[in-house]
Symmetry: C2
Subunit: 691 residues, 2 copies
Amino acid sequence: MSLIINNDDEDEFVEKQILNQLSQENYAPVRLRSFINHYGTVRPRISTINRLRNHFNKFFNTLNCLYIINVLFDRIPIIRCLKEYNLRKNLFADIMSGMTVAIMHIPQGMAYGMLTTLPPIHGLYVSFFPVLLYMIFGTCPHLSIGTIAVISLMTAQAISGTPLQSFNIINNQSYVASNIYDEIVINEKVGIATTLAFLVGLIQLILSFLRLGFLTVYLTEPFISGFTTGVAIHVFSAQLPFIFGIKSPRGIQGAFKLPRFYFKLIGSIIQNINWISTVIAFTSIIVLFTAKQLNDRYKSIIRVVIPSELILIIIGTLISHFTQIHTFHGVSVVGPIKQGLPSPTPPPLQQISYLIMPAATIAMVSLCISISMGKMFSRKHNYKVSSNQELLAYGISNVVSSFFQCYPSSGALTRSIVQEGSGCKTQLVGGFSCIVLGIVIVALTPLFYSLPMGCLAAIVIVNMKGLLFQIKDFFFYYRISFLECILWIVTFMTVILFEVDIGLYAGLCTSFLINTIRTQKPHFVVLGQIDDTEIYKNAKLFPVAHQYDNIKILRFDESLYACNSPFFKRKFYELIGIQLRQEPLISYKKQNLNKIENIKYNYVILDCSPFNFIDTVGVKLLIEIYNDLKKRNIQLYLSECRYGVRRTLELMNFYEKTAPNIIYITTHYAVMSIRTESDTNLPKVTIATQV
Amino acid sequence: MSLIINNDDEDEFVEKQILNQLSQENYAPVRLRSFINHYGTVRPRISTINRLRNHFNKFFNTLNCLYIINVLFDRIPIIRCLKEYNLRKNLFADIMSGMTVAIMHIPQGMAYGMLTTLPPIHGLYVSFFPVLLYMIFGTCPHLSIGTIAVISLMTAQAISGTPLQSFNIINNQSYVASNIYDEIVINEKVGIATTLAFLVGLIQLILSFLRLGFLTVYLTEPFISGFTTGVAIHVFSAQLPFIFGIKSPRGIQGAFKLPRFYFKLIGSIIQNINWISTVIAFTSIIVLFTAKQLNDRYKSIIRVVIPSELILIIIGTLISHFTQIHTFHGVSVVGPIKQGLPSPTPPPLQQISYLIMPAATIAMVSLCISISMGKMFSRKHNYKVSSNQELLAYGISNVVSSFFQCYPSSGALTRSIVQEGSGCKTQLVGGFSCIVLGIVIVALTPLFYSLPMGCLAAIVIVNMKGLLFQIKDFFFYYRISFLECILWIVTFMTVILFEVDIGLYAGLCTSFLINTIRTQKPHFVVLGQIDDTEIYKNAKLFPVAHQYDNIKILRFDESLYACNSPFFKRKFYELIGIQLRQEPLISYKKQNLNKIENIKYNYVILDCSPFNFIDTVGVKLLIEIYNDLKKRNIQLYLSECRYGVRRTLELMNFYEKTAPNIIYITTHYAVMSIRTESDTNLPKVTIATQV
């Protein structure tokens, strides 16, 4: 095929020549059908049974010893890691990184542990057991598993949502000493938390076995940002009572939880504020904040992360211990902490019915936070993180840890960044961190007796800074993408005004709805030719683009399917200037349809390049429009249909119901071919009228 | 710009010339940026405030007398209809059509009325009042409003789901005569049904005022088909007890309703079957069925619709009356019917809390059935049906009718087709039909005393035929579109196995999910040039398409956004042959990334023509890939980006983060430009190495 376009001046001779050539060749490779006959091949369709058989064959072929060993290596990545471990290169870096992270684990573990309404020691357990297990099964060396604010808060909510059976026991007894009562309640709460961890792990394992790791793609960035920001505000609010040294308002349930909480809190602060607590907490916040700022600024010079949180805890404990502010000024302190690692006890699983929904929510949230972080690090350091293997690792971590009085764990952003920054090389970092933590849990917990709760609250609040500042994401999305902004704000507001889990589901539903809404009213534009190139562009954006007298070229910037086909129809007729009747009374005459409306063109080309798929409703609409336009003496052509669309058209017998040659390969070929056609047609008409 | 491509033989000289020309012009109109500078215009962005101001100005300008009259005419279409009524042309046709439809209304009204578990007369009321009101406010002359099986069944379900207060009254009294008891219960049921109609109308009016008529686009064809088929099976099942002359099994609630219903029903049939009833019902079904078949076959000859249902009712009543089968053989008959039109009574609105959800469901179902029919007729006869005006008409019909002991009404398919076929011209058809029905209600109801219930059940069943046969839609969708098939079967199965309303919501959720799933794993293909044209096609489908040594051209057949960006990334690297590392241990070296993988090309072009939009996640991914490829000495180019995509890229500072000239106008220009570039680059390299 020869194709010459001379664009500098309209050389009519040359153009005629091409068109004639095209017509001589019977438009061979110009129309889709002939084009495919000429160049194409038919894709062999494999029947479903054969496809299944292939899958099974593949599966059985792999059942040999080597393969199984390989799978085992894939499932337990630490084997490969140990096998290939380079002592000289990695050991020192890993030990240093492990120590740094362990030093962060101690205060954070206690602070977040407190957030769950359990004794702080359980936070330390969560900093120990899941880390150890993730080291064995995880694939991302930079991810620091353990306590995290969001999950701790959600655990607290799950615990408060479960009715305690010990209330009944206590009510039945005539008199129970206050400390015994407290112990019974705390034991039961620990039981609930471990059951929760067990369920969370179980759900993650099931997801992993079903290979449903891909589901995390639905947890999109605006959604995660809105969700975590909302949760951060909850976490922040939960710390305020500790900051002001008062008791947390209780029994707030249902809608508008947070506003009502603040209402009660302010009243409580005015009545019972403990000034010493407040001063300690605010001093701690300011100190931590400055330390972090300094750390960030002089990172390049000192090259070591200052363990500001640990220093704060040590100083706080010392001051508190020697001034005895607990006894004399009623400042609440951590109090007695159990010593030693817990012996394995199965989670009680009694109140499982109350915990399934919270567990599902926690599993999903922990999943999306951890995996999104894992992916971030893998992008940065160019290694592969497998969603399904990660799921397996989280699942095993949670299930096994639940036997050691742990509540649900997850990957933590702040610690992971420190772990990465302190030069971690392999998963073994987790092991070295555990050694330090083990020593603390076994030997050093009594030292924390006098640590003021305000210090722990300060640590949480300062760590929330990044998440709270995500509010600026809202303005980012507002500027760039209206629908993503809607998703952000809906998720954020439902998290704030209702429970965390309601926010999760509302956000998910919104993100599905948005995918539909986005395709509702796409651009529908009239195209024009740019100079004499084969490029056709939106005539509104490119004023140079010229339109032919008798050809209208349209492009609908979205796949045509059920939800936008009414819009397509309305807009299509609007653009080609045909008004669908308003008055049902005027009788319908076929002949003079277009005379009324003064339509001057006879051809409409629909550029189908934006059609990524078409459904049955869309095909029916195209057939309907084709036939309607035919009545009005207008010919509809399509161009640039891709394989998927063509296949649906074929299955729907589109060509039989319209015309076999309705599709052109490109818009430009369609225009050229139409121009030849009308050139050859027009003279005939004039002759006919002359006779 | 001059562009000459000679394709018959590879004339190198000519090709070089073009490429040189392009390079001389500094690729001016080839790259997007220069193209826009050369030809384009910047679309003026109107600020939100100005846009709102424009809207308000437009609104206030319209507040004049003429406009208000016009709006009134639009809202009450019958005024225009009467003004322009052509007595000679339309009157006779309208009267004949009105009579025909009225004759259908009588048996159907009673049969569907029976389906609601109310006395059959209420079905006749529904055939009268809403029809009258729709005549005034409706826009579709061919639509026959009134009783319809689906809505009647849903009304019955709403009634059975509402606890009756009269049970309490009766339980408190020591002894109540059976007929008084029945009357109290029926009165309360009527109250519930009218409250339901009132609520349905109210919801439709609210939707109309909020101009939410467009929401019906979400009720897509596969969904409606699956839903109505499922409901038809419910309706069919509800008739079976009448067919076999037994009492309907009661108290079946919850999951797997229909299977459990059939289980009980079969037991009941075996025990209590009334043979006379069964014979009457089956004879009626066969007679009706044959009559309809004959009618269809000889439609062209006799040109009148035989009122077979009315004839059946008359004959059935006569036989039943003279043989007294009710008294002697226990065949259940219609019994005493109130005479005369009801006086206006406000609906009781007492049990409104139980009825809001069913009312919302009924409002949506009635809406989607009626509007889809209206659209069908408007397409056929080329007039416009406005969703919002229709909603107003249905709303007013239901609200006002609810004062006259009517249950919710809707447009009926079978009657509408008869109305169209019998030559209806204008809305006035409704009025003529009402005259006939008025006479029947006022004077003739006592005549139906002896009508066997089996005859009415037969009428319902024969009318369900079309809906039940929609099951073949499933096979249609199975063949053509997997996802639409899934939607159909999910909707159908949930309707059958659970309640009708659960099915509705499950179907809606599925249809939203499907829109997301569809975009998950699109085709991602490598393109090749066809001969020497500017056409680039999937190299797998077109084996002729040839790929250049150092250029990879890719096309991702879907918009790139959060939910498919992980797939995009994985597949992208797979297609260009780069393996993302599995082992986290090997240290990352920038220099020899590609040497390991033997990558031979230096350019990747991503054809963006299928991108209908891109979101922030997608843009970030493109930036990430661009920078990653740059490290590997591969240059990424985009081509054919449309306005929406370009705008998001600009807002995200895409050009600053990658390269200002990353986008080419077309894939072909990109290829040409790259070939010139590499031609000019390569010699330099050789010289450098020679030195």
